[in-house]
Symmetry: C3
Subunit: 140 residues, 3 copies
Amino acid sequence: MQIHQQQLTLRAYPRGFHLITDEINACLGPVREWKSGICNLFIQHTSASLTINENADPTVRRDFETYFNKAVPENDPDYLHNDEGSDDMPAHLKASLMGASLNVPIRNGKLALGTWQGVYLCEHRNYGGQRKLLITAWGN
Amino acid sequence: MQIHQQQLTLRAYPRGFHLITDEINACLGPVREWKSGICNLFIQHTSASLTINENADPTVRRDFETYFNKAVPENDPDYLHNDEGSDDMPAHLKASLMGASLNVPIRNGKLALGTWQGVYLCEHRNYGGQRKLLITAWGN
Amino acid sequence: MQIHQQQLTLRAYPRGFHLITDEINACLGPVREWKSGICNLFIQHTSASLTINENADPTVRRDFETYFNKAVPENDPDYLHNDEGSDDMPAHLKASLMGASLNVPIRNGKLALGTWQGVYLCEHRNYGGQRKLLITAWGN
């Protein structure tokens, strides 16, 4: 059993949901020789997150932004944490609803995603800047 | 450290939340000889998901369906992605709220679930059909 | 590749969101000698959960409690499962929204959390009591 760990800094994406499967695939390195394993993706932030969803129709990603803005409203007068603006606390909440990490199986040297699955960066801040991911894969 | 990977195709379940712990246990194979490890369950779809919750009272699973139908409404006029019907976009959203994978520890050859924990298939489509899981366990 | 598995019983916390990063760090044992790996944290309950979020301003954790109480209301007359009081079914739902496990990368013998990231125990019951975690780490 081997382990492969690599940092990936994503360019600054606008607020919303973005397919980053290609960026992840470009970091697999020696994993491409493995028969089976797991690839963990971990985002080192508390106002952006990761999820897996449809990789085809871009309206799915726009509807994600629409839905989460309704489900986690800005400017709730009950929020106590508002230091960085109206997108601050909602970003923290959305980040925990989606989660900071994913675990994708490896099979025959590739991410074993289903036909319609892609990896999303969920950028919850208006100006989140670059985001750091730590990729850790294990297998053989 | 060993690795065990196996596909599991679940029969078509109706929309709702369903206990599938027994189906997972039937796939553990060599894992039953391990002292400790992890079992990753990964669903290769974007409109069904996996979670862990109460394994006893079936009303919990019915209340899950009730709650998520309210929290992620159908027929929101703001949805752009409606190609496959009113359950289409809500299914994608619910899938990301719950997540495509679980990681359950292995201890003494078994899933180390708590007394009241079971694995749920969350079927978010009206007619989702069979669902493919990839089970990957590692340990020794 | 080595594996380290250890149980951790958390003291009874009040309902709400609580930083437990220090309690996790105290259980790393041999993991402190590893260059890279993953640490899985698994809570063996269905009415408490784990997430990663901001480790600094305590108002973030209070806003988490405020938000989730609105997003998952108590006393919905449609709930069927009410045996243990008004916090019973909402606790199950919140537990699945957040999830029962986390996977945090290990780098140079430490949890590779981002600067602002901490591990939260999410206690969804009024009187949840002690909570059992199973910590499983692998790496080398």
